[in-house]
């Protein structure tokens, strides 16, 4: 049982944060759903073509016909932001869902099987966790070449081990509880033990962990995009749009500012929604 590797480093979750009233919590979750709907139907909602100039350049927000103004070559900022939100939000959801799926399967197998399978899977997981995730993601995307797909691949590779660790720990903790032993003694089959006595206990933790994580992924994706590792121009992307127009910061703040603020709004909604989910679901501890 000597461990050569350091014990894995898991983001410790702050427990028992703010207590939200139930209606407020449901309202925030409604907001999560709303953002997802906006992201899915962004093309329908966007008033103008986001790629083509449609008006005067550098119009300020609330200008006629352009709610959020226009950028340096006269493209509608609202349309660009909506399409950018689509890319950011759906990507973040995909990374979290992918991480949850892969990490969840690895974690469940490791936790429920134990023995050498557990050891091997967790050694690999620990390796990933011991590396600086964001940096490795940058290196992977840089090596694969920038583009949305490669960005998603790069971020997903460093993102799943976190879920594997948490869910494996949760399964282990649950499996050690007397109720699992009691169920086994009362003659419950292995499948039923897993699906009825273990899984329902893990699901809330998985959902809470994932929903608290969407905001983190939104920010990381925005940072990568800011560095030029996301979609290539002229496709709208929130981080990249800010980076390309930095020079206009003091003259036309809204051109770099609006896409940046959109990231803030996404991350804020994700965090509040995550808190709401945690408040509504029973998680042990």
């Amino acid at each position: 049982m000597t461990t050569l590797l350091p014990k894995s480093r898991i983001r410790p979750i702050a427990v028992g944060g703010s207590k939200l009233a139930r209606p407020v919590a449901w309202g925030l979750i409604g907001l999560l759903i709303l953002v997802t709907l906006v992201a899915v139907f962004a093309k329908v909602l966007a008033p103008d073509n986001p790629i083509q100039p449609v008006g005067e350049p550098n119009l300020p927000p609330l200008a006629a016909g352009h709610l959020l103004g226009t950028d340096q070559i006269g493209r509608d900022l609202l349309s660009r932001t909506l399409i950018g939100v689509q890319a950011s939000w759906l990507s973040a959801l995909a990374v979290v869902a992918g991480g949850l799926l892969v990490g969840g399967i690895v974690g469940l197998i490791a936790g429920a099987t134990g023995g050498w399978v557990d050891t091997v899977l967790m050694r690999v997981t620990d390796l990933f966790l011991a590396l600086p995730g964001a940096l490795v993601a940058i290196a992977i995307v840089a090596a694969l070449g920038s583009g949305l797909t490669n960005t998603l691949i790069g971020v997903s590779i460093v993102w799943w081990p976190y879920y594997a660790r948490i869910l494996r720990g949760e399964v282990k903790a649950l499996a050690a509880r007397p109720h699992v032993e009691a169920a086994r003694l009362s003659g419950v089959s292995r499948t039923r033990l897993l699906t009825r006595h273990l899984l329902p206990g893990v699901v809330p933790t998985a959902i809470v962990t994932a929903s608290l994580d969407i905001g983190n992924v939104v920010l990381l994706l925005a940072a990568l995009s800011f560095l030029g590792l996301g979609q290539q121009a002229p496709a709208p992307e929130l981080g990249a749009d800010t980076a390309r127009t930095l020079s206009q910061l003091l003259s036309q703040w809204w051109v770099p500012g609006v896409p940046g603020l959109a990231v803030l709004v996404l991350s804020l909604i994700a965090n509040l929604g995550g808190d709401a989910v945690r408040n509504l679901l029973p998680v042990r501890r």
């Binding site: 480093r9 290196a139 090596a143 560095l227 980076a243 940046g260």
Partner: protein, 330 residues
Amino acid sequence: MLRFLIRRLAGAVVILLILSFLVFVLEHIAPGDPARAYVGANASNATVAAQRQLLGLNDPFLAQFWRFLLGLVTGDLGRSLRTRQAVTADIATYLPATVQLVVAAFLIAVVLAALFAVSGALRWPGAFIGRGVLLLLATAPPFLLALLGLIVFFGRLGWLPARGTGDFEDPGPTGMQVVDTLLHGQGDAFLDALHHLVLPALVLSIAPAVAIGRVFRSSLQGVLHVDYVRTARSKGLTEGRVLARHVVRNALGPALSMAGLQLGFMFAGVVVVEQVFSWPGIGNYLAASIPVDDFPAIAGVTLVLGAIYVVSNAVVDLLQAAADPRVTVQ
């Protein structure tokens, strides 16, 4: 304790090996031909092929990896395609500014985190406003914070400079303006360096401050109600003593873990912040390398920052073991 130390350090070495292997594999996949980088873009295909042979790029995979490792140990990280310099030399030039920035940001983050946690756990009246502002700022992407800081403190108020590390020549030897000017007793230059450092460091510190602060607060809240704190109070100790001796030390573990983890996120954040503030650091170097697919430079930065991260996390673990006598037993 010694065994623990040795085991932990051995673990760090293994991780560094894996990181090197990962970077080596990525370098293989990456676009760009290192041989062409040596001989120049205009060289003939024959020259490039000869250079390939010379660089050993036709050798078996594992042999190349071995040479790559030897290179790492002797400080050879290859040559940048963009600057045409040795990556090691480039990094040596730019690293000090980054270290200065990250250390300053980390110190600010720790102070803010402690305030965040203690004010929350002890329910300081009115402090929730400060916590709310911090929480809001922490949900913003770092580049937006940087822009906001620039608009307010440079654009509107004109209090703080917008770019660079300082207007004075760095007198050496460390390459960190703040340290060097202090060593040479140059008061004006020191103040100028601090002046330049404030805003980037503050921007970089917000997210880790809140992340560490939230974890620290919840562990403080947990420990405040455990039995041995009640025992300490029943001894008639002052509340300050109870906190200092019995609460904080036992609540520190999760916060330390989080601090180590945040260091890793800061290395990603620093790339963005340095770019916005034109900070002559390794992050800016990385940001400049990305658009031109300068993979040797990207690999070098990843390795160096990764190594710093792995080592600092090993230190965090050792600190934790020192803080909690039970850790070594496991």
